[in-house]
Amino acid sequence: MNRTGITLNNFFPLRALVLLATLASLAAFAAGCPSGSDSTSTDSSSTSTSGTSDNGSASGSTDSSATDTSATDTASAGSVGQISGAGATFPYPVYSKWADSYQKETGIGLNYQSIGSGGGIKQIQAKTVTFGATDAPLSGEELAESGLVQWPMVMGGIVPVINLEGIEAGQLTLDGSTLADIFMGKVTMWNDPAIAALNEGVSLPETSINVVTRSDGSGTTYNFTYYLAEVSEAWKTGIGVDKAVEWPVGIGAKGNEGVAQNVAGAKNSIGYVEYAYAKQNNMTHCNMINQAGKTVSPDADAFAAAAASADWNSVPGYGVILANQPGDATWPMTAATFILMYKTPEDDASSTEALKFFKWAFEYGSEEALGLDYIPMPASVVESVEAMWSSEIKGEDGQPLV
């Protein structure tokens, strides 16, 4: 009897093993297949969500209740209560400040995940958020392809920051080509003739330049390299423009705060950060020589001047990069950050709420933006954007949402 028990036990796992092995290999292939079949989108998390929500337009049963209420009464905001967005980290402070004030006024909250511009684009394409936010604008083709509209929401500037003994903020002046040469490793000493020529009367130390860049993909890097490519042919052909590039020299640090910390921690260093970040941390910035040949300091007026002289309608989706704009008072590294939404959103109610929020932000958010060292969009751009909303963004019934 005992013996049969043993044989049973011995026999059983063998059979089960074979059975489970087959099951397991099946499951493993099942797990591998969906991510592989969709080879264009390699982000597995967004792939899975896009798979389900793409079908959502056909089924739509879960959304129908919300859509119905909005169709009958667009003003009934209570049913939504929350706007969701994701994307660029650069405008996160001002978006969250606006969201806070907006919630106090209307009771409607905004959930903004600052996961980076690339993440924002992925999420709006997967339709998991109502709006996406990006620092690097999408091209007209990309917008048309995915049925998105794009507009600039707020602006800021990028400033070179340095840590050089005896040099105070604004004492050092650089021009575009010298800045490009420094970040390309062509100018390696602080007392290089190219720097000295721009800074007569400033005593420059005979030390090597420590370059600090962003290691993470970033809209800041995109705008910074865009400017360097504008002013330096060698940069354009040798390195190029992107959210992360092949830096020939220097160390990479994560985020604005990482760059700031590395510049502060290493003597004789230079890096680039968002203006708001440099100002709030009292970093030593450089002045720049702009396209008009004038020396300018980074401040709100200089950024606004860049926006004023730009031709916003020259590119589809207002995708103008504000680098190296004309004008005497223009700061050469100004950047706008953009919002992405669908022309015909799946969820009319929450899209309407999002547009109302942006309208409110354009109208009442300027003070708060300036308080955080962001620059509000000029009135002409706001007008044009709002007109675009009513002509482009339509609900299921074909009527404009706002």
């Binding site: 797990a31 390699t42 993470d216 993909g217 160390i251 990479g252 640090a253 590395n262 921690g265």
Partner: protein, 331 residues
Amino acid sequence: MSGTMLNVGLDAAQLTEQRSKVLRGFARGDRAFSLTTLIACWTVVIILTGVMVALFRGALPAFQAFGWEFFISQRWSPPKEIFGGLPAIYGTLISSLIAMAIAMPIGLGIAIFLTETCPMALRKPIGIAVELLAGVPSIIYGIWGLFIFAPFLAEHVNPSLVKFFAPIPLLNALFANGSYGTNVLTASLILSIMIIPFISSVSRDVFETVPAVLKEAAYGLGCTTWEVVRKVVIPHTRVGVIGGGMLALGRALGETMAVTFVIGNAHRINPSFLDPGTTISATIANEFTEADPGLYSSTLFALGFILFVITFIVLAAARLMLMRIERRLGN
């Protein structure tokens, strides 16, 4: 007589019946139990296979685009879509190796001190303190490394290192420059601090398994503490010590956050340990959020796959080494 016989017969049959019922019950319970454990085991295998397959599928476009070039190229240019994995692979290996070289003697030293020479009253508290170190989240080492340790090294240690090694050929190439606080050596030092607790707590546990009789006999023969450790404790626990070392190496290879903060994140191979570098996990953590779908993302998948394979090879090599040692000891 015959009645009783029959009775007995019946009883015996009933008893047999009863007994086999109970035994069947046991067998069923055992079967359920072994099935449960089997499922638990297979869950891991299924997940592991799934991860591996998904990584490989994600990496395939990059491997197809670059081929073997990917393993030897140093270029890393997202705008031009030219990617080479060598700097990240090199950085991963070199930072882990330096970290192991620093952490192994220190970790063993701690373990030997705790088991052999430490006063009894202090053993518990010091042991607990070391184990607490193992529980510190890596991001904390990263922040501490970036804000305090790296500037300190750049200011006080790197210049003297460069000066000290300058006249020595070969070594002066390994310790050159040093103007950046965040570099390969800083990352290795942080890594070594992180893995010391692993080595020391595993080693301490295995050292404690050495029978007291063996040690006492050795001491009785007049051995010094060093001789006891060298000739009795270490040979007796070699397998466990190597196991602890491999566990630590595994952690060092895959460590992400702390390394990202202090390695300098430069896609270049510099001979000097005082120059910035990068590792596979740091590259993925840095660039995944903003990587465009397509070749760029696929490259990061490819790096992930390579890290997977490297870790696998390290563990397999450790197993092989242990098996060889055991076989030799058996002979």
